[in-house]
Amino acid sequence: MIKSNKKILFLSFLLLISLRPLQSAEMVDPIKVNWSFKGLTGTFDRASLQRGFQVYKEVCASCHSMQYLSYRNLGEPGGPEFSEQEVKAIAASFEIEDGPDSQGEMFTRPGKPSDKFKSPYPNTQAATAANGGAYPPDMSVLVKARKGGANYIYSVLVGYEDPPPGVTLDDGVYYNKYMAGNKIKMPNNLMDGLVEYADGTESTVDQMAKDVTTFLAWAAEPELEERHRTGVKVIIYLILLTTLVYLSMKKIWSRVDTEV
């Protein structure tokens, strides 16, 4: 009786779930990419992270801030893992405002690894005003802040198209297949050969989109590799302990005429 009830319950629940596609008809699902950081033991592709940082620095960083990252993060394990010298050089290439000094004056100095990523604009209002009223979002946790995550970010980067007939766009608005509402204020900034990769990889739009998305995925979850590694160990430990406790339980309960 209870068994058959459970079956009905389960089937009804499946039916309920299958109703889901009805509501999201107008949105195009993001492209599914086979990222190296997916899955239980996923890790980042080091070379792709380094290339992605280059794309960020040369293209995205002119509008998008990444205020929660520090230059030192670029050298930490599980990230792009630039060498100490490279991190210092990257940091030093930025002029950071510091102060006040003993005279009460603000001054600028070359960046240090402990500095946060320098933002392109002094504040949100300035960023919004400089970009036609659309604030370029901070990209520190962007991958976690969008439904679809890395797939969505990648899809938007490669999703620029000419608007279909009948769709008119205002000045400074672009058509994008994957963006909610299909209208985006960010122009299509990626063109084949835009950056010159240090490792000689051909910089196609697809390659740059993948690299920078990988970089953003790491920026949003810098702990990902350690999390996956620790998780595997924790689960193995728990399974072993559970087995031991199960056997102990069986032994203890064998004194009683009841099954456990």
């Binding site: 009804s12 929660y68 990252l69 995550g149 999390r227 728990l238 406790v245 099954e259």
Partner: protein, 419 residues
């Protein structure tokens, strides 16, 4: 309570125990006679205690690094995720821990509903449990506000605005709750204060919950009164402790799966966007564990009516022991009620599902049907079925299943296997 007086072996122990009988309490807890036929649905009490302790311990550490200020809260959470040693682990345990806590509490509550654990003489245990559940919802809601993301801000706005539906004084009450003229920094500050307070209130209620449980003792799958101690019982330690430990470990594997491999799947991506009072998210949805009540709230076209029904959906549970007219506790022996029980489970799942969907079209219809059925289950089904139902024969004891009516000697054992 105690059947035999406990005497500590050592002189020092006796000296202390005469002044504060902690050792007697310990002996009571380990010897506590427990029905031997408890199934795994009964292990969730221990699991819930684990959840509470986990939330308190991780929460205290998080509070050492968190900053309750509208301009700094979001950044301080990122600081925890990036710079605090194992901050990501502590925060993910805490945020997923809330979901696991609710998962466990729902199983615990539905177990109680199936086996009639709320019925006499356990009404007070049930009511204290519901008070814990209410406080859990308050704590979870306020906790969700603390990261000060978009869902934090707009969730807080929607929920606090419910109080403005109260006639005459509603707006004043809402302003008073906010400490401002909208959800703002004072709101965040008080929510943090209360979020830190409530778990300790819950802890106190948990002590009362267990105390009240130890007066009549555990209900059991057969739902009959048993003699304690007897052939029907086992001492709590080691029998129940080891079984609870096993169940807890299985639960922890699921918990760890979420924390390490999909830590954000139960949250909403919008909460990684800093709170912005000028931009309203497309869909404001609460966390999954509040969705059934959200569906009930939105199913009523009138705001005040929706609020009354939503709170009514919880408060009706408080009078459940008196709405249920059946003399038999366990649904195992209630063939008709059992059917309605599963329909009710389905109804709540459906309400949770439509709560996550836009309140329009088919979803609104389903929400309305679901809401009506939710209340009908308590107001009509429970009293009427209890009076009319012809229940199956109930065994006299767990060990000696002598039946009051027919003859099926192994019924108690079978019951144990089935459920």
């Amino acid at each position: 309570m105690s059947e035999h007086e406990y005497v500590p072996k050592s002189k020092a122990g006796k000296w202390f125990n005469d002044r504060l009988p902690l050792l007697t309490l310990g002996a009571h807890l380990t010897d506590y006679p427990t029905p031997k036929n408890l199934n795994y649905w009964w292990t969730f009490g221990g699991i819930l205690t684990f959840c509470l302790i986990t939330q308190i311990v991780t929460g205290i550490v998080l509070a050492m690094h968190y900053v309750a200020h509208a301009d700094l809260a979001f950044a301080s959470v990122e600081h925890i995720m990036r710079d605090v040693n194992y901050g990501w682990l502590i925060r993910y345990i805490h945020s997923n821990g809330a979901s696991m806590f609710f998962l466990a509490v729902y199983i615990h509550i539905f177990r109680s509903l199936f086996y009639g654990s709320y019925k006499s003489p356990r009404e007070v245990i049930w009511i204290i449990g519901l008070m814990i559940y209410l406080l859990m919802m308050a704590a979870a809601f306020m906790g969700y506000v603390l990261p000060w993301g978009q869902m934090s801000f707009w969730g807080a706005t929607v929920i606090t605005n419910l109080f403005s539906a109260i006639p005459l004084v509603g707006d004043s009450i809402t302003t008073w709750l906010w400490g401002a003229y909208s959800v703002d920094n004072p709101t965040l500050n008080r929510f943090f204060s209360l979020h830190y307070l409530i778990p300790f209130l819950i802890l106190g209620l948990v002590v009362l919950h267990i105390w009240a449980l130890h007066v009549p003792g555990n209900n059991n799958p057969v739902g009959i009164d048993i003699k304690k101690p007897s052939k029907d019982t086992v001492p709590f330690h080691p029998y129940i402790t080891i079984k609870d430990a096993f169940a807890l470990l299985v639960f922890m594997i699921v918990f760890a799966g979420f924390v390490f491999f999909t830590p954000n799947v139960l949250g909403h991506s919008d909460n990684y966007i800093p709170a912005n009072p000028l931009v309203t998210p497309a869909h404001i949805v609460p966390e999954w564990y509040l969705l059934p009540f959200y569906a009930i709230l939105r199913s009523v076209p009138d705001k005040l009516g929706g609020v009354i029904l939503m709170f009514g959906a919880i408060f009706i549970l408080f009078v459940l022991p008196w709405l249920d007219t059946s003399k038999v506790r366990s649904a195992v022996f209630r063939p008709i009620y059992r059917q309605f029980y599963w329909i009710f489970v389905l109804d709540v799942l459906m309400l949770g599902y439509v709560g996550a969907m836009p309140a329009e079209g088919i979803y609104l219809v389903l929400a309305r049907v679901g809401t009506i059925y939710y209340f009908a289950h308590f107001i009509i089904v429970m009293p009427v079925v209890g009076l009319l139902e012809k229940t199956d024969p109930v065994p006299m004891s767990i060990s000696e299943p002598v039946l009051t009516g027919g003859a099926e000697p192994s019924l108690a054992r079978k019951v144990n296997d089935k459920v």
